[in-house]
Symmetry: C2
Subunit: 192 residues, 2 copies
Amino acid sequence: MDAALRLLEDQSLSSLGLREVTRAVGVAPAAFYRHFRDLSDLGVALVEESLGSLHHMINAVLAGQEGDEERIEAAVDAVAEHVRRYPAHIRFIARERHGGVRAVREAIAAELDRFADEVATAFCPQLPAESWPPEDVRMLAELYVDHMVMTATAFLEAQADHPGAAEERKVAATARKQLLLISLGRHHWHDE
Amino acid sequence: MDAALRLLEDQSLSSLGLREVTRAVGVAPAAFYRHFRDLSDLGVALVEESLGSLHHMINAVLAGQEGDEERIEAAVDAVAEHVRRYPAHIRFIARERHGGVRAVREAIAAELDRFADEVATAFCPQLPAESWPPEDVRMLAELYVDHMVMTATAFLEAQADHPGAAEERKVAATARKQLLLISLGRHHWHDE
DNA sequence: AAATTCAGCGAACGGCTGTTTACTGAATGA
DNA sequence: TCATTCAGTAAACAGCCGTTCGCTGAATTT
């Protein structure tokens, strides 16, 4: 799986060859079948590995009980740190989220749906129930999850194009402002 | 290009074969080289075709001088209609935006940057200049562009999973609410 | 009318692909 | 201790891949 992740840094899963993977590991092609049925099978395994670590990070941020701006700061920093530590994982997710392998796409979509559930239940107690019906909470959670993915890929491109930290700081500043803007909207939701 | 777009509906560009394209057209493999140097060359041509039509649509919506909610309605409807009309185009963009072919990724990023420029200049006259420095206008424009792409791919998945119009209406409702929330945040930007 | 560009042709090139087969030796468990 | 699972092997299979070559006929230009 590590070898595959490395190869997937500059190609997509649907063009990855089985032999290519075994060659990178230093193993006979047939040995692949001892571990995976398919390349798409390997793909869904990589989805679980890649989104598992992100999952822990998200929960940690969600558990913090700070105010709006502190939480935004913590979330953006956590995403930045995660991207710095596991760039290949999140590159894989960004690439295959709409990629050519159906099973992998569906695995990612299901996992991101679970993320949205958790964000929704984390935000629910903080929102006045009379102006936040469940479907509105859900739409807010989806906005947050999509924005997180968006921000993560922006960090990725920043560190790919420009190893220096300048571009990275610009991405962080933009992400913070966008989250602040969403927070403002959230506070004025349904108050005419 | 039409044949390639058709083949790319269920695979990504980096796994598309030159012979595969020529076979779909009914032409000898060597004929490909009369039109494109590479498959990535074909890719950037497809980017221009795909984002060109979207471009016109966006400008039409931006030119409309209605109020907030009317503009949101018009924008979401226009995106929905566009996805219905050119699903393969926008699927291609979603897939290759973070795909395995560098040149294509860069072409898409450059084009979306131009989109953000246009959104920024369209919104600029409506925003009080004292609370909206240029970089804040830019971050707003990027949020809108990313949300548009996000919404378009959501429509795509809705019509792929469920040919009926029910799922599609749900996506539209969510997108409208998210844009409304962003509008609220925009109106309360920097007013403590 | 002659010359030139153009798009396409068939054939060939070495090289890489996924998958199956039967076999091997080490680790594991009863 | 003996049987079984486990991970890996080499070899072979047919088939597809991108690319190059010289040639052809139509369209276009001069």
